[in-house]
């Protein structure tokens, strides 16, 4: 049930993200151009959810925000999956001092208050190391990179624990006795058998990345306007709550549904 509900929620949001250009053509507005004569309008056939503080269509910005927020979530989770699996497998396989070092590093990362560190990291000027700043694609890349720095830890711990138990199995010993190389043992025998915990960890990583991106964008350190993200649509909440309370409700609801979808998916996979 949980698995189905999670997939349905995420599917719906993905459909919205993919359908954003269609909806744009249908309604005939540009969600990035201000229209100062139509600020904070009520919901109408022309603007199904009304307009924001610059007169841009809320529904269209919500759909475009889905593209950015979901892309950041999925990209971060995939990067964390790659990095975390590699580190977890390495720690489980080598054991000893390297294992201890990597796991102490993971413990240290987990002990840190993530958000304050992310805030300081997000303000670092990537322009100085040659990355462009201010364009949406560059913003997304920067946020994904920063979030991956923290995201790998959860995956690595799960991957290591699962890999240690698989490495002790008889079929691994059998494969080694038959002369399989260590790379073959790890890729052919261990990796496929730790897929389930990795799936759970990835779903949770997507949820965490979406929440973190929205928080950073809300604080004005994530995806910069005029590009839309669910978080930056709420960044001038102080004005929204007085002028157009509903405009402050929708983006948060979208974040809630996306994160709940990932959590349900992870819960469902775990059973």
């Amino acid at each position: 049930m949980r698995l189905g509900l999670g997939i349905a929620l995420l599917g719906l949001l993905a459909l919205g993200a993919l359908g954003a250009p269609l909806a744009e053509a249908w309604l005939g507005h540009d969600p990035f151009t201000p229209d100062l004569f139509n600020r904070f309008t009520e919901a109408s056939p022309e603007h199904p959810l009304g307009t924001d503080e610059l007169g841009r269509d809320l529904l269209l910005r919500l759909l475009h925000g889905a593209r950015v927020s979901l892309a950041v979530g999925v990209a971060t989770a995939l990067a964390a999956l790659l990095l975390g699996t590699a580190i977890g497998l390495l720690a489980a396989w080598r054991g000893g001092a390297l294992d201890a070092l990597l796991m102490r590093l993971a413990d240290g990362m987990l002990a840190l208050p993530a958000l304050p560190v992310l805030v300081v990291l997000a303000a670092a000027d990537t322009g100085r190391i040659g990355l462009p700043r201010g364009e949406p694609a560059a913003d997304i890349l920067r946020i994904v990179a920063i979030l991956t720095l923290f995201g790998w830890v959860g995956v690595a711990r799960l991957a290591r624990a699962a890999a240690i138990s698989v490495l002790a199995r008889d079929y691994v010993r059998a494969a080694r006795a038959l002369g399989a190389s260590e790379a073959r043992v790890l890729l052919r025998h261990v990796l496929p058998n730790i897929g389930a915990p990795l799936g759970v960890a990835t779903a949770l990583a997507v949820a965490g990345a979406i929440l973190a991106e929205s928080t950073l964008s809300f604080l004005g350190l994530g995806i910069a306007p005029p590009a839309a993200s669910w978080g930056n649509m709420l960044s001038n909440a102080q004005e929204l709550v007085f002028s157009a309370p509903m405009a402050a409700v929708w983006p948060g609801l979208a974040i809630l549904l996306a994160v709940a979808g990932c959590t349900l998916l992870a819960d469902g996979l775990r059973r």
Partner: protein, 312 residues
Amino acid sequence: MIRLVATRLVQIAATLAILSFVMFLLIGLMPGDPIDVAIAGDPRLSAEDAARLRALHGLDQPLLSRYLAWAGALLEGRFGHSRLFAQPVAQVLWPALLSTLVLVGAAILLSGGLGIGLGLLAAARPRLKPLVDAVAILGQSAPSFWMGILLIILFAVTLGWLPAGGTPEGGPVEALRFLVLPVTTLALANIAAYARHSAAATALALGEPWVTAARARGNGEARLLLHHAFPNAAVPVLQIAAMDAGTLVGGALVTETLFARPGMGKLIYDAVMGNDTNLALVALLLVALMTMLATLGADLAQRALDPRLRDG
């Protein structure tokens, strides 16, 4: 026990050393150094003046020696100066720390009390469990800044009962009024986690043979729940508290910024936004230290409660 504390303290010191070094290097990537700001403020400064000022402040030194000088001063208790507030960092830091401790402490009490209460309810009445689960998933999925915005819309804008943010002026009652919404916002996210875990742990304990034995001796259900099952469920709940210390501090940053409430979180945010790198770094390290000490404290409390953990 002493061995454990010693190991953990070494670990904390190592984490802080690495964090401060990495952050110091990265801050070098932040836009503009203080001299750039001075040049922007006074166009008469020539390139030679800028170079002389950089040399005067040691900004022409290599990063590593600058880090060592800075970290050494920090260890001696010299926290330096805040550019943003034009005050010594120490003077800015302590009031903010106090304010955050009040906020976080109140939020822990509220979320712990409500969450554990809900969890016990779910354990005692299994029919309510799906409801508690659903509320828990929603509570954990909602971004806390959005919950805060909703609370502001409801209680400050629509009903007008409470202030939407800012600093209290006046007596303790006024201070409490300013505390209600931020504390609720910060607590909401954790109520869900506490409810979920205390429900699961208490339900598990209720199934143990000693509870059946106590029931056979004629103890009432309320006594079974509070006296026999819950104390055994307290250990996993404390573990959640230990793991959530970092989340709480992060939540405090968002809450303080949203409600324009002075505190460590807002201080870090303002320092980052205002290019006050020294203040941002010192505040970040202090927050990290407090978080790790809180986690250690919760771990020790867990050991004190559960003899099995002490021996292992």
